[in-house]
Subunit: 233 residues, 2 copies
DNA sequence: ACTCAACATTGAAAAAATTAAATTCAGCGA
DNA sequence: TCGCTGAATTTAATTTTTTCAATGTTGAGT
């Protein structure tokens, strides 16, 4: 079990109004007086790479807003194969299924250093009761999650392994805050794209040789978008 | 443009309470008095195979509950490739995205004969305003759509072409009302599984040779589940 | 019965991906 | 420094998939 660090724990939600990504977060449009009536702990937590937010089958009493970093959602199949079905980034919500009282159908594991806002289901539920804004926000989260799933199928599970890797790099580039982005292990890339580790390695090595992909430090990289774009189709 | 046949059109929603699949449908738990206040047309429509419910980019004022038959959701990519991202069956909802006011990101096209219940967005919106049951029903639709998308990725976009075809047949079998199911064209199977038409044809032909798959009539088939199951992994 | 068009099947060659094994490389602790 | 370890890469053999082209099959319409 990896370690976790609780930076700050707040009674109530005073912190939310000064949250740097509030415009992206679940409570974006919730009026202040709604917060004032809520006095439940909303924790701001930092996780290191490889931490499990929850596992397939878990029944967790939280949802998580990703404040920074990347989280992979992976499903394991009976035969042991695993497939990463989505990668969440800043502003995305993890654990939506839990709100409907269903057990998780996937693992959620941090890829790099991740900060999340952990919100008890009970808070969401009680706010949802009388906040149409939150209703809308939740529906929009579902919408964007589904849209992301579609993209995952059409862009990252289709075409040759090279195209898939190229599209994955573009995807990671687009969702990054700065001009570099987190480069997953070849193993994870394979699980994201439905190809073997070796195929992922071959494609990334080729892009690096051609200078379209440059590694920066340990786990980060940047790409030449104009050069890589043609390789996507 | 394909033809459509309007079996019955109803002013108001009197019909809903006697709907045969109401337990599966969107308005399952809506109290009768809510219906009585609504007087907008909810149409019961039959489509023949190949009819487009809506196309990518459309901004439609309806959602559709599938009463019978199958509907494919397909995304087209810039290079012209298409990928079927999901197949909807009885009780599923098509056009959810429209509720959030977003244009459709996919085509919805009937595979076989399909009957739908076409509900104006405005009806859903006005009912949603004061019906927590409908809120719940909508969230659950989103949930099951997302869960289906995950299944699509892990089961139908992973592994060898034979496994994918086997899993698709199992999937179609499970969702069928009777013991036969609609067998898509090899072309559509390819688009569902991310493989070529020929690969889909070879796999289905092999299963037929082995007697694990039997065609029944034109577009329908049945499988020997016990024989086919091992081929899924 | 004939024709046409759409769909399905098949075979052979080419291309691509997977498997397996070996190698390089960087970081880490003794 | 040395050896260890995990990750990434390389290589070669094998398997799978795609491509391309030809051949069957089927049903609708004449």
């Amino acid at each position: 079990m990896k370690q976790k660090t609780i930076e700050q724990a707040w009674r109530g939600a005073e912190r939310c109004k000064s949250c740097g990504i509030r415009h992206l977060a679940l409570f974006a449009d919730i009026p202040q007086e709604s917060f004032d009536r809520i006095h439940l702990p909303i924790d701001d937590i930092t996780f290191e790479p490889g931490h499990r937010l929850y596992l397939q089958g878990d029944d967790i009493p939280f949802v998580f807003t990703i404040r920074s970093g990347l989280v992979k959602l992976a499903q394991r199949m009976r035969n042991g194969d695993r497939r990463i079905v989505r990668v969440l980034g800043q502003g995305d919500l993890a654990g939506l299924e839990g709100l409907e009282g269903l057990p998780m159908d996937h693992d959620a594991i941090t890829l790099d250093h991740v900060t999340v806002c952990r919100i008890p289901k009970s808070v969401v539920k009680s706010l949802r009761r009388d906040n149409p804004e939150l209703h809308m926000a939740l529906l929009q989260r579902w919408q964007s999650a589904l849209s992301a799933a579609n993209t995952w199928i059409t862009q990252l599970s289709t075409g040759s392994s090279k195209k898939r890797v190229a599209r994955l790099l573009m995807f990671l580039h687009e969702r990054s805050v700065d001009d570099t982005f987190f480069l997953p292990t070849r193993d994870d890339m394979g699980a994201m794209l439905g190809i073997t580790t070796e195929s992922a390695s071959k494609a990334t090595a080729e892009f690096k040789r051609k200078g379209w992909l440059k590694t920066v430090g340990q786990n980060r990289a940047c790409i030449d978008v104009d050069e890589l774009a043609p390789a996507c189709e």
